[in-house]
Symmetry: C2
Subunit: 119 residues, 2 copies
């Protein structure tokens, strides 16, 4: 079990610990998905967009005005948020309203806030 080929540049110091942790390690896919999810939250503009949409559904122009950005820049970010299933949209004539698609965002923001406050 600890006879794997190692391409790292050091000896194994605590083989027992490494083996134990490796045994319970989830698939790579899970880490890919999880880090991708947090990567989406880890941007100043997207954080503000998500916070705003938690307060009210808003259209692209509203968000562009609020954040003092171009429609294009906002739209590009909304596209990423859409792909990540974090926002949903509904059309009403020419206007497209965006809102949060996920209940967890508020909870995640709260926990993040707690961390920041405690540091």
């Amino acid at each position: 079990m600890s006879n794997d080929e190692f391409t790292c540049d050091c000896d194994v110091i605590h083989a027992d610990v490494v083996d134990l942790v490796k045994k319970h390690m989830p698939d790579d896919d899970e880490f890919v998905d999880l880090s991708a999810f947090f990567k989406i939250l880890g941007d100043y503009t997207r954080t503000k967009i998500l916070w705003a949409l938690d307060k009210n559904e808003m259209c692209v122009c509203d968000l562009a005005t609020l954040l003092n950005m171009t429609k294009s820049a906002v739209s590009h970010q909304l596209r990423l948020l859409r792909i990540a299933n974090l926002v949903k949209s509904r059309r009403e004539g020419k206007v497209i309203f965006y809102s949060l698609a996920d209940d967890h965002i508020k909870a995640i923001f709260e926990t993040g806030h707690e961390h920041i406050r405690e540091k």
Copy 2:
């Protein structure tokens, strides 16, 4: 209140909503800190490191072996995690053990997982 100078490339559509949201908007600093925090979580390598340290305290070589990376690459990432107050370290001879510095990480991972599962 809605007479601000707008540098965005569109008219305000729902001025009432924009004003309301803007009124409750936290300081920019909060968004900077919050997005910086999630940015740290939003990396494949760091996610795995945090997950591993949640299972056991580990030294750099253990992590390098587990993740099949060089000590240098792991150390660089641990540095970022240290700065963000997400991990702490203790020295024991030549070996430096890293462990989680924050109780919230597990909870945040859980919530992130829920989002991924529900999509």
